[in-house]
């Protein structure tokens, strides 16, 4: 059997397979590649030395392995130009602003958000809303946003991995953040504010 503390390989697949698959899919956008990455991650996991116990620690450890695998994957494929810099994706959005550059009056944007994330972390409904909002992004934007905001990859590295310019990246991140803010405001915070008041 494997190293002390690590579940045997079959239950490992049951316990973390779907999670790691989704984790990879969000970043690489290809089911086949995601499956390969899951397999590589499990292989590295059963061959590595793991000394902690508990499913949460195990998962955290496997996420660490998978992040490396994902970066490796981008390195290997960086040669393929992923997008044309003149694509509209590189253009700034005027949505949400008046002609003079002020915010458009938007009732959804007025909803109050909490100051700290603590309260949101345990709320199933919040994560469902967030997942739905992430679904509305283009695959490209979701990938870039995830690398930056979730995986905390530095912008220089993202540009290098995905072969895009800093300006391009900056516009995509700006647009994506705004889109998610708008989506969450109307989808989640709008509703909770009303229910909190009643």
């Amino acid at each position: 059997m494997g190293d002390r503390g690590l579940s045997d390989s079959h239950s490992l697949v049951d316990a973390h397979g779907d999670f790691l698959y989704r984790f990879a899919l969000l970043r690489v956008r290809s089911p086949d590649v995601a499956e390969d990455l899951v397999q590589e991650t499990f292989l590295a996991a059963i061959q590595g030395t793991y000394r902690e116990s508990g499913e949460t620690a195990e998962r955290r450890w496997m996420i660490g392995i998978m992040k490396h695998k994902i970066v490796d994957y981008f390195r290997r494929t960086a040669r393929e130009p992923i997008q044309n810099p003149n694509q509209p994706e590189g253009q700034a959005t005027d949505e949400g602003f008046l002609a003079d550059g002020h915010w458009k009056p938007d009732p959804a944007a007025m909803h109050r958000w909490p100051d700290k994330p603590d309260k949101l972390l345990d709320q199933r409904q919040f994560w469902d809303s967030l997942a739905i909002c992430l679904e509305t992004l283009t695959p490209r934007a979701a990938q870039i946003f995830t690398l930056r905001e979730v995986d905390e990859v530095e912008t220089e590295k993202i540009c290098e991995l995905l072969r895009i310019t800093q300006t391009n990246l900056s516009v995509i991140l700006h647009r994506t953040r705004k889109q998610l803010r708008d989506c969450l405001s109307s989808r989640y915070f709008g509703e909770t504010e009303e229910s909190a008041r009643s």
Binding site: Y21, Q47, L121
Partner: protein, 93 residues
């Protein structure tokens, strides 16, 4: 356009700059102008807090460790799981 209004960022400029500021250090004079705008503008100030909250939520450990996506979340197919199990078995000593 008046001299003053050229010095002051519009909210539209601000949205882009607040996003940029989360990814790199902006020049001092830009940071100062951002602060001046934030002092005067509650909408931009709120926008900044919302972006920060979104980041904090996503970077909190719990976000990554969550298991269950929405009901229609993609899963590994049964065949894929079987393939992976076989591969893992063949690599076991």
């Amino acid at each position: 356009m008046s001299r003053v209004s050229r010095l002051i960022f519009s909210c539209q400029d601000m949205a882009r700059l607040l996003s940029d500021a989360m990814d790199r250090t902006l020049p001092l004079h830009v940071r100062l102008r951002i602060r001046v705008h934030l002092l005067m503008c509650t909408l931009c100030e709120r926008y900044k807090r919302q972006l920060t909250l979104l980041r904090d939520v996503l970077r909190a450990d719990a976000a990554q460790l969550r298991d269950d996506g929405p009901a229609q979340s993609p899963c590994l197919s049964t065949e894929a799981k079987e393939r992976i199990r076989r591969t893992l078995d063949s690599h076991r000593s």
